[in-house]
């Protein structure tokens, strides 16, 4: 478990459907994860949107933030793009539950 405050950037592909922003924002707020920045935009596929989320990890591990996000059915994939583009979760099996 990480206690120091670290900033991460996650690139999250989500289903482009009404309410998806509320799902993601609601998850962060109820799990007491800190969103520092949030950008939502389109992708080439009109059924998929891209969220770029700046997360300050404090008291939780980044793995926990990613695992909880991944549980949202509307979330398709999550990449840790902190600093440079580094794939963390996209190549992994999708552990959705």
């Amino acid at each position: 478990m990480t206690t120091s405050r670290r900033q991460h950037t996650l690139e999250v592909l989500v289903e482009n459907e009404p309410g998806v922003l509320a799902r993601v924002a609601g998850l962060f707020s109820r799990r007491a994860f800190n969103i520092e920045t949030l950008n939502v935009g389109p992708t080439e596929d009109s059924s998929i949107s891209k969220m770029v989320i700046g997360v300050a990890v404090e008291g939780h591990s980044l793995e926990q933030v990613i695992a909880q996000l991944d549980k949202l059915v509307s979330v398709i994939s999550i990449k840790d793009v902190t600093g440079k583009v580094k794939e963390v979760h996209d190549t992994q099996p999708d552990y959705q539950n």
């Binding site: 309410g19 695992a67 059915v73 552990y95 959705q96 539950n97």
Partner: protein
Amino acid sequence: MAHIPTANGTAMTGATSLVKSLEAADVEVMFGLPGGAILPAYDPIFDSSIRHILVRHEQGAGHAATGYAQVTGRAGVCIATSGPGATNLVTPLMDAAMDSVPLIAITGQVPSAAIGTDAFQEADIRGITMPFTKHNYLVTDPDQIPGVIAEAFHIATTGRPGPVLVDVAKDALQKMTTFNWPTSIKLAGYNPKTTPDAQAITDAAALIAQSSKPVFYVGGGVIKANAHKELRQLVELLGAPVVTTLMARGAFPDSHPLHMGMPGMHGTVAAVTALQKADLLITLGARFDDRVTGKLSTFAPNAKILHADIDPAEIGKNRHADVAVVADVKETISALIPALKAALAKNQPDLSAWLRQMNSLKSTYPLGFDQPEDGSLSPQHVIQRIGQISGTDTIFTAGVGQHQMWASQFISYEHPRTWLNSGGAGTMGYGVPAAMGAKVGAPDATVWAIDGDGCFQMTNQELVTCALNNIPIKVAIINNESLGMVRQWQTLFYEGRYSNTNLESKRVPNFPMLAESMGCVGLSCERPEDLDKTIEKAMSINDQPVVVDFRVHRDAMVWPMVAAGTSNDEIMIARATAPDWDSQEL
């Protein structure tokens, strides 16, 4: 999903499509109550093969569907109208999310053109239930109904089970559509992993073979996964002690010599101490809930953690896992058995000293209670006798409070799916409607709700539903004329200042009369000498619901107890009485 319904390709209303979809999903029963927004669906329900049970409050529908799901392992279905009908389902949805119950809630919504206008009975139920549904939907296009229903059942029943809500706008129910039940389901963002990684299994087996003080920490996931037989094989292979959490009672037989009982706030000394002194927790479908761990930083301080769970987000959430296995726990245990055999063949740890210590604790500190000195009924004794007289095939549900804890402690559970309670949410009022749903799911079983006098007053109206629909459950009201569990905390932590916990329920209501007025048989019992014959009388009535008002001593307390926020090491076996640790070699 296997069969293609004959209605495929037929033109019909969205409402008929909804009902055809539920039929295609093999729903046999649903619990609900109509209103304006869902009314179009109630017309085809009238003709459907699905049994619809008309409840008296939507909360009852939700908990009944949950009780049904917990005894059958199938999805439970509840249905309600928009606005207040839908918000009455909020508590059961939260409850089902906390206890991983596959629950489908269908709600009517105002017509799509009216959404967002504060229309009559408009509530954003999708928004409201986002935090505690596994997923939820708002359907405004009738063509989407079959696909959404198929997805809802798939999501609710696979992976870690959970509730799914489908909100359908009234105009989507009224418009015409062509019914098309999907042949397959593709969800880009949902793909639960059910098969364990081979490496994780090898690591897990090695970790177990190295430990000298292992404990099986068994949670409700083992019951959800129907893994009780495999669990028993694994346990007997290793020969290590077992604890079953409040959600896992029945996953492993209470009568088994390796069973140390339930851990946690009101767990046995042996179970709590087994976790505290272990060098390895073999965690199977459990989630390190605070009611089990006590103060987390002092929980199982010397233990390595093997954590097997289907939900990857449980791994490391509360406690770091040394080895994690993300998969269906039945598959995990099945894979672990041969792997552990191989590991034990190389290195068989000697667990005899550890077992001796645990057995000594188990025999020194069995669960017990004192009979009240004034000759009145002891609540623990009432519950114990109900368990003994009705036998181990009986299904028990409980409310929340002292009676719930006593029912988890003093009834012997030998089989999975015979103990249903609201573990994660602690929902007062769960007992009666859950028993109704359980009886519908297992009509040949005896179903007893062990309820509190407080809890009973929250949802007893469903006894009317039971009486009218031939659902003959039995209810034991453990009437201590108090919100007893809260009163216990006031006794212990608020100097006996009993602020607002006195229910006066030996005066009003008259429970047997209330029961009779609802079409049930009402009995009462207040003397120990009448106890057995009252229970036997209740057991003899099988064509009507029976309610027994057991008027018990009010000052009985639940022991052992680990006070909230304290360490499991501070377990008390009675007021201000710790176990005599000095006499135990630990």
